[in-house]
Symmetry: C2
Subunit: 291 residues, 2 copies
């Protein structure tokens, strides 16, 4: 993507000037840094003032209160807290438009409805970028470059709100992709949530590994288990909020592996079939991403 | 490792001059290329003459027969065929010492005993390096640099045979590590075989993935599933030859994931516990490899 491709070349779009980022962890601070790099005014808030101060010291924005409503508030808190924070920010008139960066989308909408939030100026979002590290020091202004950033507007969302959040996403260098919350949650179970749990279960087999095992570990298992370093509490919350879709796919994987465990001592054909299905899935994945 | 660290500085060791490589796939050709780079004479054989010709054209050695017994024959064929090839090569007097590069170690020894092979001049080996690509064109002379290369001498193996194979391993730039065949197989089940099957099972969940799922796949799942591109037939053979150890660890992973599938909809504590065990295993792994 070049400078000239980005939002402001579109005469229709209202140029963004000011953004509030609520929650200055790795993700929120990365959003803030990428928008500061494009010259926007960014206001930082975190329930831990020290975290907001660290983000500010990294150049992500100011910890002062905005003088009036900002153009967009980016809610970068754990998915289980998005709805409450949205309700509070809307009540305080913090912004004209609201979005979030949570990795589940249907549950926060249901909770926001229960809190009586205004859903006409809220566009849920999920940037497909992350890190197994957490906190503002792990943030990067280039985290979203050329990444997919899912947006999940509802039937009641106004076109102006969608346009504003699309502009914000494009300013970070990401590519906005529209989905329904349900489609997002189903897809992300396969693409991210179940892979995370599988990597964790595999890493868990090494939690009592002796020297002989560790000496035989190579770059393959390092790559496979990298995400297993992610924050356990945060991931547990995410997975629980996408329980139905995750449980369905995870049951498939668990059954495949239980069958493979039986097959490995007996029916080699079945084992080869699973490995060939793995070849197919991998080919589909690399084909979709690289060609 | 510098030039001066390598084998020939030891006045006790008989310098290697000639090596035969039986099987010019990715692994055999990589061994041949790394030894050619150290100036050794390398004789190449493959049941597919075209594969041997490709390896020779890449500079891995000659396809001519050696004039007499070579110093070492490196048997680089699938693990299920090692014992038969060893028996044939010993009967033909191809080399003074024999080794192999198979990723299972106990089963080939048992088969070699059944074939009546001479185990005094045979030292099993397994370089902890590889590629999801196969064939001589995927080979690299630097594949083994700074990698662990397990050797599994038996009680009847002569010290001279061990010394010769240690010298060969060091010439490739790898670090030899001694283990019993049983210890190797138990360790490699956790470090490599089960991770491969788990990655395959995960990639298999994508073999019918739609565009929405593929758009949400990021570098995390690419890393986790990379090894699932490996040759299904070859891996099926390897896993079947290490059935007992693989089945044991795989059953643990399958049970953990089945429990997680149940927990995700209910008992979040149990889910967090699995994720924390994953954190521990990952920390042990990176700690052992990097510090």
């Amino acid at each position: 993507m070049t400078e000239s491709d980005i939002g402001r070349s579109d005469a229709e779009s209202a140029a963004l000037d000011s953004v509030a980022v609520i929650g200055t962890g790795m993700m929120g601070t990365s959003v803030a840094l990428s928008l500061r790099a494009r010259g926007l005014q960014v206001y930082l808030r975190d329930q831990d003032p020290a975290a907001a101060a660290v983000a500010a010291a990294r150049g992500a924005g100011t910890t002062e209160d905005p003088p009036g409503p900002v153009d967009v508030a980016v809610i970068a808190v754990p998915p289980g807290e998005i709805a409450l924070v949205l309700a509070e920010c809307q009540a305080a008139g913090l912004a004209r438009v609201f979005t979030d960066v949570g990795s589940v989308k249907a549950a926060p909408v249901a909770a926001a409805e229960a809190y009586g939030c205004d859903l006409s100026n809220y566009v849920g979002g999920h940037p497909m970028a992350g890190s197994e590290r957490s906190g503002p020091m792990a943030a990067s202004p280039t985290l979203f470059l050329d990444r997919t950033w899912v947006l999940t507007p509802l039937s009641e969302t106004t076109p102006a709100a969608i346009e504003t959040v699309v502009e914000l996403v494009e300013l970070t260098g990401a590519e906005p992709v529209m989905m329904t919350p349900a489609d997002h949650d189903r897809a992300v179970a396969r693409a991210s949530h179940v892979p995370h749990l599988v990597a964790a279960a595999l890493a868990a087999t090494l939690d009592d590994a002796d020297d002989a095992v560790l000496r035989l570990c190579d770059s393959d298992i390092l790559d496979i288990t990298r995400v297993a370093a992610g924050d356990a509490k945060m991931w547990s919350d995410v997975l629980s909020l996408n329980a139905t879709d995750v449980a369905k796919v995870l049951s498939e994987v668990a059954a495949d592996l239980a069958e493979a465990a039986a097959a490995v001592a007996g029916d080699w054909t079945q084992l080869t079939t699973l490995l060939r299905r793995g070849n197919s899935g991998r080919a589909l994945l690399t084909g979709a991403l690289f060609y």
